[in-house]
Symmetry: C2
Subunit: 324 residues, 2 copies
């Protein structure tokens, strides 16, 4: 189980490697929310999302001989790119198992980061079986996207930075809103803030219809989303919170927010205009909650984590409301 010592050790290992992202703000966003809003833009992290932190933590923290044999991950998205780059920087092999119908550009990007991409057919192949076979044949270590204590520790380094940067801004208490898929980022931040900024309250944010974590925190058991796809927030529509992450969130998090796709697109447009950052839909859910649902929060400052910025041009243009 991840703890603060592991998070601090992950930060040590990431020194000079992971980017320390800044803390952004805009008086225009403050006015919309009716309070101060600070944004932690992990879209500016290597590979465009916080996932690099967890991947780096996993690779730098694993046994040297295991790492030398290489790693494997299942992902068509941000985790794939994070693992690919972390492996390349360690000089070891990464195999990424991707669905054969994944967007060509994502396959190409993952390959360009040095990974070996193995395609599988969603319809006929069992991904876990294919992955397990490859791992066994080649001695690869599986790096799970969130149910891995080292990965959670890496994501928790975002929380260490929030605590330090909030201190510089004179922020002691705050509502910290975090985009939540499997809960690796949310639980990692919650652990870091428990130790370093205990007056901050962490709340997971999700798209409407994919609010498995919010419902799990309410019911006390791992709830599952009815739908598996069909959201623009592809990065965070994990079916249910993790086994490693949910107990941490149950202990440390307050109720979260589900936001509409309309809210998400408006938040992306405001981030473009007022912060000059590129935010992907899934990465915008916490900012959307901060801007458009602040009335549901206790008074005071809000810190919204933007988890990533890997978005297609067409979707981004849709957010900007530019249709030709």
């Amino acid at each position: 189980m991840t703890n603060i010592t592991m998070i601090e050790a992950a930060a040590q290992r990431a020194q000079g490697v992971a980017r320390q992202t800044p803390m952004l703000s805009s008086p225009f966003l403050d006015e919309i929310a009716g309070r101060r809003v600070f944004v932690k833009p992990e879209c500016l992290q290597h590979t465009g999302s916080f996932k690099f932190r967890g991947a780096w933590s996993a690779l730098s923290g694993m046994a040297v001989d295991a790492r030398a044999r290489g790693v494997i991950a299942y992902s068509s998205g941000n985790h794939a790119q994070g693992v690919a780059l972390a492996a390349r920087m360690h000089g070891v092999r990464a195999v990424i198992l991707m669905p054969s119908d994944a967007p060509r550009v994502k396959i190409e990007n993952t390959r360009a980061l040095g990974a070996e991409v193995v395609l599988h057919d969603r319809e006929t192949d069992d991904r876990d079986e294919t992955g397990a076979r490859l791992a066994a044949e080649r001695g690869l270590t599986l790096v799970k996207p969130f149910d891995n204590p080292l990965v959670v520790a890496g994501q928790g380094t975002v929380g260490l930075e929030i605590a330090a940067q909030a201190g510089e801004h004179g922020i002691g208490t705050a509502q910290v809103l975090v985009p939540c898929g499997g809960g690796g980022l949310t639980s990692g931040i919650a652990l870091a803030l428990e130790a370093h900024a205990p007056d901050m309250v962490v709340r997971p944010c999700e798209p409407e219809g994919f609010d498995d974590t919010i419902r799990s925190l309410r019911s006390g058991r791992r709830e599952v989303n009815a739908r598996r796809g069909g959201s623009i927030c592809d990065a965070i529509i994990t079916p249910s919170p993790g086994e490693v992450t949910l107990p941490i969130m149950q202990r440390l998090c307050q109720p979260g927010f589900a936001v509409t796709e309309g809210d998400v697109l408006r938040a992306m447009a405001l981030a473009f205009e007022r912060l000059r950052i590129v935010v992907e839909p899934g990465g915008a859910v916490a900012l959307a909650a901060a801007l458009f649902h602040a009335e549901a929060l206790p008074e005071g400052d809000v810190i919204a984590v933007v988890s990533g910025g890997n978005v297609d041009q067409a979707v981004f243009a849709r957010a900007l409301g530019v249709r030709g």
Copy 2:
């Protein structure tokens, strides 16, 4: 005349106020350029451009009684917003003289930052005369956009950060490419690097047809652009380099680059895709030179400054090649 002591003092005064922008990079951009490319994204600065640094330096460095009476600036763009916010943060009045046909959103933004906007008719009014009259009547101090040693000192703080961050990345020698309008940013950075990273070479970058500084460095006198407008790079099409700035650039800069609008739009699209930042056309000229004209540079690392990110949705969509 600005010197390194003034730049270091400006950095002291800006401590905890101006944002320290990160240093970004992407293996995909490195591949395009055929070398390592680092990007200093001042689009992430307060008000979306480096101009806040110079404005803050000018206001924080001026005599207290003069500041208390307020400041005036002429600008419809980034300098206006920088001065407006710096004045508001000092609790003093800012009057911004803007052309009455300036985009409504820019007028509204400047007002929203607390400035009093005075509109003048480009056709019938003499801006300098109107400004001088207002300044005299109200005791306002004019903050020029670049021909002001305190402003140059503020822009030079970008150079201090580049020197420090390059050190962390193990970069000693580098070509430093800077978008150049009146030369405040370029000359400030050149002075800072002369003192703190003397093996770096600073080169101004401009849009084709608006290469007054490049030509001035060549001829040794202040050249003037033939055209006054008609470029998407509105932020940096100053007619000629400044009287304060040109001598500094003559002493410290190497020949610069002029880039096409096509190069600029491609650089904006790559910054969107690979760095997840929003770059305005004028802010992208140095990145465009780094990516598409690296063959004209000596070997080694390149640092490209992105000077701002205040761009209309329609222009940004054009850069992304999305037309509906």
